[in-house]
């Protein structure tokens, strides 16, 4: 094999979600489920058991009518970098089923490798990981809509958002076919980013000056979830509402302003 292949600068794929624009409509969730062969069951009201790689949380400001306020917060996997790729989940996985790639900054999950100990679920502070308590069952005929690009999971393994890594793989096929070295920004976008009817989600390489996320992450209203935990997540949020930014890191009532974050 030639050694010439793909000697490009390492990427750090990340996301910036504008909570002012997010309407809580849930299109991202459905797009994600359709894209990633996410299973469904008859009763999905117990959210601890409901597999939603991208879950849109509803935050409330706790004030009384009519000063109450609501904000929706889409939560994909944060693809934490931690310190040098030692994200909380990767550090604890005894099966090497989850891994951090220095090349893309994406935290992978290999279902066939996972034996279901769920350490990673306990370690993840964002609850992005879900355990398959049951084998997925598609009603007769509905297996036709399954995508060949994402492995179908079985009972007993953990799954989570992959930043639609298979889309990167598919996009790279074309890049190689056309003899290019690099992927253009719009060639690799996650399903949720593409679907969002409010254009609230922006996705790209946080290392790349030319990508929209590079600038957006330095927005004065940008913050990350549980910033002070040191997980170094790659999903940034923007909200003009102070109470939302404070809830993003569980600030106490009398605590000072939201601390500056690492860009």
């Amino acid at each position: 094999m030639k050694k010439a292949q793909e000697h490009t600068a390492p990427k750090k794929y990340g996301m910036v979600i504008d909570l002012d624009k997010c309407t809580g409509c849930g299109a991202c969730m459905a797009a994600c489920m359709a894209e990633n062969n996410v299973p469904f069951r008859e009763d999905e009201t117990d959210k601890n058991l409901s597999i939603t790689w991208l879950r849109v949380y509803k935050l409330t400001n706790g004030k009384k009518f009519p000063n109450a306020d609501v904000c929706y917060l889409p939560r994909p996997c944060m693809h934490c970098e931690g310190h040098h790729g030692h994200s909380p989940c990767v550090s604890v996985c005894p099966a090497t089923a989850t891994d951090y790639s220095y090349d893309t900054g994406i935290v992978s999950q290999i279902y066939t490798r996972c034996f279901g100990c769920r350490y990673c679920m306990a370690a993840c502070p964002y609850h992005v990981r879900y355990f398959n308590w049951w084998d997925p069952v598609w009603p007769e005929g509905m297996e036709k809509m399954l995508s060949p690009n994402v492995s179908v999971r079985t009972r007993g393994v953990v799954e989570k958002c992959s930043f639609c890594f298979h889309r990167y793989q598919i996009a790279m096929e074309k890049v190689r076919y056309e003899g290019r070295a690099e992927l253009a920004e719009d060639e690799y976008q996650t399903a949720c980013t593409q679907a969002c009817p409010a254009n609230a989600i922006t996705f790209g390489d946080l290392n790349n000056h030319d990508h929209a996320v590079y600038k957006l992450k330095t927005h004065p209203d940008a913050f990350r979830l549980l910033e002070r935990l040191g997980t170094n997540p790659k999903v940034y949020y923007i909200s003009s509402r102070e109470w939302v930014r404070r809830q993003g890191d569980n600030y106490l009532e009398n605590e000072g302003k939201v601390v500056a974050k690492a860009h």
Binding site: M1, K2, K3, A4, Q5, E6, P10, H84, G85, H86, S87, V90, C93, T96, A97, T98, D99, Y100, S101, Y102, D103, T104, I106, S108, I110, Y111, T112, R113, N149, V150, S151, V152, S162, F165, H166, Q169, I170, M172, E173, K174, V175, R176, Y177, E178, G179
Partner: protein, 211 residues
Amino acid sequence: MSTVKAKDDGAGGFIILFFILGFVASMILGWIVFPKLLYSQKEQPFNFDHAIHMDMVGACESCHFFRDDGTFSGIPKLAQCIDCHQDVQGFTKDEEIFVNEYVRNYREVPWLIYSEQPDCVYFSHSAHVLSGGMECKTCHGPIAETETSRPYEYNRITGYSRDIWGKSMLGLKKNPWDRMKMDDCAECHRENGVKQNSAQTHKGACFVCHK
């Protein structure tokens, strides 16, 4: 006391004999019977002569090509074959089967793919052939020269093709196409300088070959 001893003495030979018996029986079971039980064979729907096609079309890419989106077409679909095989050309019995049973009925041929990887594997032909500059035969062996389709062997428990899982029960590997398990991929990647970017293992990252 002596009787006991005598018994012991007398039994020694038997014990060794039985040990050997057990040993040999289990070796036969493990090395000969077990592989036969473990692997099953299926015949391809009909025989395919690669050599004869190569003579006519000249290159692998004529039938196994990259699509415009960079994905690899793999085994040709009926639509491609129809160009030449609309009617029976009359070279072989197999061609007759093909035309009569499949072409006429617009039925795709359910070829069994020797080199098919399990669902959890993502394999990019473009990365290996276009970027890596590898030749087909480096991994697929001299299949282009074959005149007959050998039986497809698969593992009864896992359903995997034996070409993936290893032809040798000893785990020996002479050619790349003798086995194509994860370690084989990893070894080649390591030797050829594919980025070793895993934070956990400092080897190749999982999301290079998995999906």
